[in-house]
């Protein structure tokens, strides 16, 4: 019994090895003249792949990348220390930039290109990190299910009028943590906690799923309003799945706090790694990310807002209109995130 089955399985298992032999990547051969730049990225979008491909085509510098959740990448860089192969570190969240900097994993650089292109508020004064794209945490609501006038602010989600009508994803999610951190920075921990308690009290269901799930729940009427990043709704409206498009059509979008501090925005960004071995290439990549061509790809491929002025938006982003954004310093989000999680936990926002 054994030999036959074992043999058959062994063959089935070994066949792919032969395939591998022909398929094995040979980066060192390709990375000839201009060298490489090694990117550790907490972002995971096809848009980034396209941007890196463009960069390689323009400069001849090969981009090697490792994508993983931001905090895990930080742990990895800490463990690797001076031997870390990372040249550039990129995070999907402004808090991540702060944590990278606090852990001493970034080095300050001077670049006239970056300093000219990126507004001062969106880069570290010392040149340790630079923001490259922007997203807003907005309120989505069921059209016809709730009066939009009732949900024009983040505070309104905590109001008694919305009891049993609010959906949110887990508080562990970094987008929620950054929003809460911003509220702590702006209004202080007591008010932030009271707000989180109010929202949690209004939950139609326990927090679950990701942003898209909140949109679906709103469209289905399981709740009337939810907090999501703006681009998820745009993406659903353009989805190849007809049921996604139908879902998106039932949902409206509000930029909150337009008469107050402005809608919460969060940034993706990056910097040169502390122990970069290809520092010149790393700076070249960062400068490319701030170039008009690359900046145009963030809206085009990912429906994120660019950070450089004058870059064209997609019709979908233009349709959202101008909005007032909260202009807190980016570092505030990183600084207050641990406290944000502790307060969320106390508020019962799971």
């Amino acid at each position: 019994m054994i030999p036959k089955t074992v043999l058959r399985a062994a063959m089935a298992l070994l066949a792919p090895l032969a395939l591998l032999a022909c398929n094995a990547p040979t980066p060192s051969v390709k990375a000839a003249a201009k060298g490489v730049v090694n990117v550790y990225s907490g972002r995971h979008y096809d848009a980034d792949e396209a941007i890196y491909r463009d960069f390689t085509a323009k400069t001849g510098i090969e981009v090697r990348q490792l994508q993983a959740p931001g905090d895990e990448l930080i742990e990895r860089m800490k463990a690797e220390g001076a031997a870390s192969p990372a040249d550039v570190a990129i995070t999907a969240d402004a808090g991540g930039l702060w944590r990278l900097q606090q852990a001493g994993l970034l080095q300050p650089i001077r670049s006239a290109v970056l300093e000219a292109a990126i507004p001062a508020r969106l880069r570290d004064p010392g040149g340790a990190w630079f923001a490259f794209s922007k997203r807003s945490r907005v309120i989505v609501y069921q059209k016809g299910g709730v009066d939009p006038a009732l949900i024009q602010t983040y505070d309104s989600l905590a109001a008694p009028a919305l009891k049993g009508k609010v959906c949110a994803r887990s508080s562990t999610n970094v987008y929620n943590l950054s929003l809460m951190a911003a509220r702590i920075a702006r209004y202080g921990p007591e008010k932030a906690l009271a707000w989180a308690k109010g929202v949690a009290h209004n939950f139609a269901r326990d927090p679950q799923g990701a942003d898209i799930d909140q949109i679906r729940a709103v469209a289905a009427g399981e709740c009337k309003a939810a907090l999501v990043n703006h681009y998820y709704l745009i993406r659903m409206a353009a989805s190849p799945d007809p049921s996604d498009r139908a879902t998106a059509a039932k949902v409206g979008l509000i930029f909150p706090d337009q008469n107050g501090a402005g809608a919460h925005v969060n940034y993706s960004g990056g910097g040169v790694a502390a122990h970069a071995q290809n520092k010149a290439n790393a700076i070249a990549l960062l400068e490319y990310l701030a170039s008009p061509e690359a900046q145009a790809l963030f809206p085009k491929l990912n429906e994120e807002f660019p950070v450089v002025a004058g870059v064209p938006l997609t019709p979908q982003l233009q349709a959202l209109g101008q909005f007032k954004e909260d202009d807190l310093p980016l570092a505030a989000m990183g600084e207050h995130q641990p406290q944000a999680q502790a307060l969320f936990d106390r508020a019962g926002w799971r």
Binding site: L13, N23, L66, R76, E80, D241, A342
Partner: protein, 532 residues
């Protein structure tokens, strides 16, 4: 002539390697213990020296997390155990329409990672999905655990039922026991060790799962580890939680070993088993319930994934070729290393003694630990090795080696179990005969025990292959540059809510996993002592 042959052979002394015969197994067991426990130990030590963050609610946090995990184990694990045993009994002991197909169809959920099941049911039975029934919240997590993990119990219980002594069952029947009574009074108690072993795997998977628990917003020890470490910046609290898991797994295993004691189970059976012929209605009911289970556990989610994958832009599947080859490479390479470690653990456990116990407990705690914790431990070890100047950064071969070690530490328990079960085929009489002929422990292991245990090892290889294929958190943290696997791609898209793009890699994981799993199922269903 016989006398001549005897006199021509010099009197057999135990093979010379001095005291290796005595110390060899001990040393190997110690090495295996180290390999399984070192990453977890490293991360604990690191956390102990980390400064404590504030936050006065640590106790509450710990209680909530433990309670959440226990609830999921009871609900998800309990249903999985019931489903697994029931399905195994029907398929092994009864005749009904479609039985030969269900025999392997019921194993298929094992090819789907539970986090993929969670995403699929998020689409099927989430808001706006086609299902009228909602799968949501922590009970949604329990639902996918039950469906995704019952095959562990099903496989183990079925193998046990199939290899039971027909004589015992016939004796029960002669004494007037109806099938139900034969099941409760004879078959189930005899299959207990196998069922407990399968259930232990399922329960440890539930404890260590991050993907499905976080998707359904369940508060568990594993999600708590992430929440404490990364969101609250409190590694010490994270490690208290992880330690809870490791210690609980080790204690549970020790308790099970003690309860089992030295009782010998599973008398070998030498002839085919008479299956109960079910009355028409019961037969139809059996076919329907097996069909429903297979549909919910595998067919429906697979169909949903296929539908989503078809909506993806053309070329999306072809673009997965490198990820596919990386997945296969890791599953084969990592599988080989894990199998080796599993074999050592199983042999050490069989040899008994403190060393064997330690190896077994270390392996069990590795399996119950969240993959990310073991991976962070491997990072910490890599950092110390780098401090000693032994290795550089985690690139290329070093990263792969760290990853493979993590797989081995994580999954040695899953492999050790079938190997150990295979080793029980080696009766004391056989080992005794080898001993009488002068074979030392090593020689007995190589020449007698390993060949007899080969089917168990084969089953272990298949399980470990599929486990690594599905593994996500450690692969994410430790892989080298430009080295995506199918699981990594699936997660990359799913974590960005691009579920259509996530479908193709998820489907590929399932398709690659199906063949080994069906082979596993076939191998186990033929595991009768007198079988062909």
């Amino acid at each position: 002539m016989a006398i001549e042959a005897l006199s021509a052979t010099p009197p057999r002394a135990p093979p010379t390697p001095l005291r290796l015969g005595v110390w060899g197994p001990q040393v190997l067991a110690a090495l295996a213990t180290f390999a399984c426990a070192a990453p977890a130990a490293a991360v604990m030590i690191q956390a102990l020296i980390a400064p404590r963050a504030g936050g006065g609610d640590a106790g509450r946090f710990w209680i909530d997390s433990v309670a959440g995990t226990l609830a999921l184990m009871i609900a998800g694990g309990g249903v999985a155990i019931a489903l697994g045993i029931a399905a195994a009994w029907l398929v092994a002991m009864c005749r009904f329409p479609g039985r030969p197909i269900f025999e392997w169809l019921l194993v298929l959920p094992l090819a789907l990672p539970v986090y993929v099941l969670a995403y699929a049911y998020g689409g099927i039975a989430g808001p706006g999905g086609p299902s009228p029934l909602r799968v949501a919240g922590p009970s949604g997590a329990a639902f996918v655990y039950a469906l995704g993990l019952y095959p562990y119990i099903y496989l183990a219980a079925r193998a046990a039922f199939v290899s039971q002594s027909a004589c015992v069952l016939e004796a029960a029947r002669t004494l007037g026991a109806r099938p139900w009574r034969a099941f409760w009074a004879v078959a189930l108690p005899a299959a207990r060790p196998a069922i407990v072993a399968g259930a232990a795997l399922a329960l440890m998977e539930i404890a260590a799962d991050y993907g499905a628990a976080s998707y359904y917003g369940a508060t568990t020890i594993t999600t708590g580890v992430f929440r404490a470490w990364f969101s609250r910046g409190d590694p010490a609290l994270a490690m208290q939680l992880a330690a809870t898991l490791l210690i609980a797994a080790a204690l549970a295993l020790a308790a099970e070993r003690r309860a089992r004691g030295r009782a010998a189970y599973g008398a070998a059976r030498w002839r085919a088993l008479p299956r109960y012929r079910l009355p028409l209605l019961a037969a139809l009911g059996a076919a329907l319930s097996c069909g429903l289970l297979a549909a919910l556990g595998a067919i429906l989610p697979l169909a949903w994934l296929a539908r989503s994958a078809l909506l993806a832009p053309p070329g999306a599947i072809a673009a997965l070729a490198p990820a596919l080859s990386h997945s296969l490479m890791l599953a084969i390479g990592g599988g080989g290393a894990t199998l080796l470690l599993s074999a050592i653990v199983a042999l050490a456990a069989r040899a008994g003694g403190r060393a064997g116990q330690a190896a077994l407990l270390a392996a069990a705690s590795g399996y119950a630990a969240p993959g990310a914790v073991i991976a962070l431990g491997a990072l910490a070890i890599a950092a110390s090795l780098r401090g000693l100047g032994l290795i550089g950064g985690l690139t290329g071969a070093v990263a792969i080696a760290a990853l493979i070690w993590t797989y081995a530490a994580r999954f040695a328990a899953a492999g050790a179990q079938p190997i150990e079960a295979g080793l029980t085929r080696i009766t004391p009489a056989i080992s005794g005969a080898a001993k009488t002929l002068g074979a030392g422990a090593f020689r007995r292991a190589l020449a007698v025990e390993l060949p007899l245990a080969a089917p168990g090892a084969f089953a272990a290889a298949l399980i470990v292959f599929v486990e690594i294929l599905k593994e996500l958190p450690a692969t994410l943290i430790l892989r080298p540059f430009d080295f995506d696997t199918l699981a990594v791609k699936a997660n990359e898209y799913a974590s960005d809510d691009r579920l259509i793009q996530a479908a193709a890699p998820s489907l590929l994981i399932a398709l690659v996993g199906v063949l080994p799993i069906v082979l596993l199922s076939r191998g186990l269903s033929r595991a009768r002592a007198g079988g062909p």
